[in-house]
């Protein structure tokens, strides 16, 4: 409970960054990528897997370089991904020093942390749909808050006791319902004529928000760590705060690209 309130306060600067968009938002996402990759890799090191930091940091710098040179050109993005995966594979050519897991963990850092979080920046570049960047954070954080309170007051049936013992089915349903309602209100206030799209994005984003949360839980459980870091003392690392955003950002971005911009 206290964690959630403190986290909420930490999120205030985030609101400003999303409001301004552009370079401040790109800089923030770059930082999330930088710190997030480090947190993920430290987690892997706890299970004796040793990803390659230079390859991941190089991929991060290249991605944001390409962003300023060729924004939203997806053929550069797929090329960037291919290059990152190749470089991760080449890393294990020193065959006696590295494991195959070192390569795949490096790839995971590039795709899951750097590329997923970059979708926030991509959403910010969608012109008239730029305002939907808010939906990334609404779906992530409203799901979390509503799931917490509906689970707290109504929770009876465990959702996935082995993976995340505190989560309940009632919490999950409350999280989705609350998010759909808040998304609908957001649409009605700021995006008249797009309320149905906002309801749909709320539904999809909320489900994926929980998947993002559970993915981070699964990774941490397997790594044998409780939190990804200690950036916000007592409240975990960047990846603990943004685990849901990593999944809601692509959800909203591709909804815009595939449903709205066609």
């Amino acid at each position: 409970m206290k964690t959630r309130i403190v986290s909420a306060l930490v999120m205030v600067p985030l609101l400003l960054v999303v409001y301004f968009g552009g370079i401040p938002l790109a800089a923030a996402c770059f930082l999330v990528g930088l710190i997030g990759v480090r947190e993920l890799f430290k987690g892997f090191e706890a299970m004796d897997v040793h990803p390659c930091y230079p390859v991941a940091y190089g991929a991060l710098i290249l991605l944001y370089g390409l962003h300023f040179l060729f924004p939203l050109e997806h053929e550069y993005l797929t090329g960037w991904l291919v290059l990152g995966v190749m470089a991760s594979a080449i890393y294990i050519f020193r065959i006696n020093e590295h494991k195959i897991e070192d390569a795949t963990a490096t790839m995971l850092g590039i795709v899951y942390v750097i590329f997923f979080s970059y979708h926030v920046v991509m959403t910010d570049m969608t012109g008239e749909y730029r305002i939907l960047t808010w939906m990334i954070f609404i779906t992530a954080f409203v799901t979390d808050i509503c799931a917490y309170f509906s689970g707290y007051f109504l929770g009876r049936h465990k959702l996935c006791p082995n993976l995340s013992p505190k989560k309940t089915i009632e919490g999950a349903v409350g999280g989705v319902l609350g998010t759909v309602i808040v998304s609908g209100i957001f649409g009605a206030v700021f995006l008249k004529g797009m309320v149905v799209h906002c309801l749909l994005m709320g539904l999809i984003g909320s489900v994926l928000s929980m998947c993002g949360d559970l993915t981070a839980s699964a990774f941490k459980r397997k790594m044998g760590i409780k939190d990804y870091g200690n950036l916000i003392p007592g409240h975990g690392g960047i990846l603990d705060r943004f685990d849901s955003v990593l999944f809601t950002a692509p959800a909203i971005y591709y909804y815009i690209q595939i449903v709205l911009m066609r």
Copy 2:
């Protein structure tokens, strides 16, 4: 030596498929993806890692479905990649049954086998540059043949004794030189005015061809297997034949996209 000749004969149907392009080529790449993923996953199983076949096969079918509906639309491709990575992560929500490596190996199959090989199809879709699809196979196979013979006759200094003991520096240099020459001849005969581009593609493709070969070697060494399969009896599996193509296909495709089509 005999392996190389038999492999060369097996490659004859490939020439026809590349010549016709279109649906026959897409069907061949689909098959390479299907069999290749299975071979890679069997290799992982040899090291007690258990990737998720349904997620990878689902990703393969979805990719070729998208190919026919929205060819060369890269925002669908990045969306497809994101979805594949998410599905691989969700696979380990059954936390007691799966390892984190099961998820990352699944992702590797999707990106390294299915997506990399799909670049052959993408190159075939580049309109006036379609003929450069040949360069994917020229760089892959000419590098292999020239490296073999120059290594056989001139090889003195080991290239990477721990990873691939038979490879020599002389072989590598001969492979690159031979490929650049053959690429130049190909350009002079079929693509007048693009000879310099063909020489460059030959150079880049040849280096990446060897990286693709060594990547497959590294993976196999780590998996403790000699070959990926036994599809061509005595001559390994699909991935053993096409390990270089997996790397040269993106090389040629992005050269076209980034250098030629700008």
